[in-house]
Point group: C2
Chain length 282, copies 2
């Protein structure tokens, strides 16, 4: 019998090995686990029924529209990218609870569908959030690959402003938040660095040409950030120095072909396993 989410959430922290069901191993917020009280295996049948009734009560509390649907937004837990938006009925939400694969209700085909069922690019759902009205949900999860059927990372790759500027071009550009826009700018500089050696280099390309310069800048920016604390400088100085440090560190990451998403995945796994603190306390 495969474990359901309700199994995990009722299992206390066991020190020897990870006895959580697979879906629960990467959930980012550790404080939730710390609150767990008792293993479902040790529960009386009455208590198991109690869990089922909680799920039923929860589903009853959702404000399904006249077609029995809510909006379901799938979001990448590490980058924050909105991957896609569909609709969920009661069965789709129940299926997402139990399978941890983002599952929707197709209005055109009048049937359930699990994202990745055909492509294997599942969205592994780590948490589900309801909005204040309880008529909209976020599936917060980690995609196995590109979400869009076009092969794009997300379904949102068409900027209205790009179209208005030049409707013929229709160039794809993902809806990126600040950190990932910056990452894209750095990627573009790397391409220029690799293909147009003779052009007057931008600062980013200069850094990419000179590992010693880049590393000395990273050390320098780390020192400047530290000084804002030691010299009790204004918080706005800390924000500014952190921006400098982040930017220079991201240039290094690009040279190593490492994405910020990879870094955030490392942090998520560490923190859900009490990682950094554990490592540093040893």
């Amino acid at each position: 019998m495969s474990a359901s989410i309700s199994d995990y959430f009722l299992i206390p922290s066991a020190r020897g090995g990870d006895c959580r069901p697979s879906f629960a191993r990467n959930i980012p917020t550790r404080w939730r686990y710390q609150k767990l009280r008792f293993p479902i295996a040790a529960m009386a049948p009455k208590e198991v029924l109690c869990v089922d009734s909680k799920v039923k009560n929860l589903l009853d509390s959702i404000k399904w529209d006249e077609k029995g649907l809510v909006v379901a937004i799938a979001q990448n837990v590490d980058t924050g990218a909105v991957l896609m938006q569909g609709f969920a009925n009661r069965e789709a939400l129940e299926a997402t609870f139990s399978s941890h694969k983002a599952t929707f209700y197709s209005r055109s085909r009048s049937s359930l569908w699990t994202k990745g069922g055909t492509s294997s690019n599942y969205i592994n759902v780590l948490d589900i959030f309801l909005d204040c009205d309880r008529d909209s949900v976020i599936y917060l999860g980690k995609p196995d690959g590109p979400t869009c059927h076009t092969g794009s990372e997300t379904c949102y790759y068409t900027s209205v402003f790009d179209i208005l500027e030049d409707s013929q071009k229709n160039k794809e550009r993902l809806a990126l938040t600040t950190l990932y826009s910056l990452e894209t700018i750095i990627s573009e500089r790397k391409q220029e660095f690799e293909t147009e050696q003779n052009r007057k280099p931008s600062w980013t390309r200069k850094l990419m040409h000179d590992n010693e310069l880049l590393c000395s800048k990273i050390r320098e920016e780390a020192e400047e950030l530290a000084r804002t604390l030691l010299d009790d400088e204004d918080g706005s100085r800390s924000a500014s120095e952190m921006g400098d440090l982040l930017y220079h560190a991201m240039v290094l990451l690009k040279l190593k072909d490492v994405r910020m998403e990879d870094v955030l995945e490392v942090l998520r796994k560490r923190f859900s396993q009490s990682g950094i603190e554990e490592k540093n306390c040893r």
Copy 2:
């Protein structure tokens, strides 16, 4: 006179005033501006009509549902947080184009409404994205304050798993992506640091007790990140060291009461003004 975004990207020779069409002001990603060819003030009336017809064509291309609506998701451009979800009809989308305030169609009141119209907590829209089916849009913007009518930062503060664990508690917890979950953990450590001095401190609280230790760790992690480039170590080492650097730097930011959102806002403004590159090339 300080340079405006248009000075840099659009009209290098015309320094006075922003003569772009209103929909193009405040757009964060500079590569788009680099493609713009002419200021609208210099356009012949025929060309202005051409812009209007592009807007009309764009709106015609959207797949409005049987009620004339699409799903509209408002997302924080700096943090990636999904702020709220509503619906937009043709007029709501047009209003968002022209006012740059996220505007929706209220199905219950059968009228347009601009988020912030009552509370002044507008969502300042910097870009709008369509999905592959053209039946869903993202308003990518910067909120002036909390988005939810409850005063919560976003409308998504109810975790289904929290409810299943203990439906009585109903503790609010925002749908946070990895970076902001980490920030929340660090915030909790700061609260513990301030209120429970006698408890055995976690690593984070130890760092908060000792500025010299924290700053030496930041320098050390910056050096270790640099070494992964200089010593040609594996990319996974770079990701790991960057995770360490980010975490320690975020502990410092918390001590200075600076949020990652503040840092990202600094970076967004810099990059839209060619900031870091400009600064460093001087």
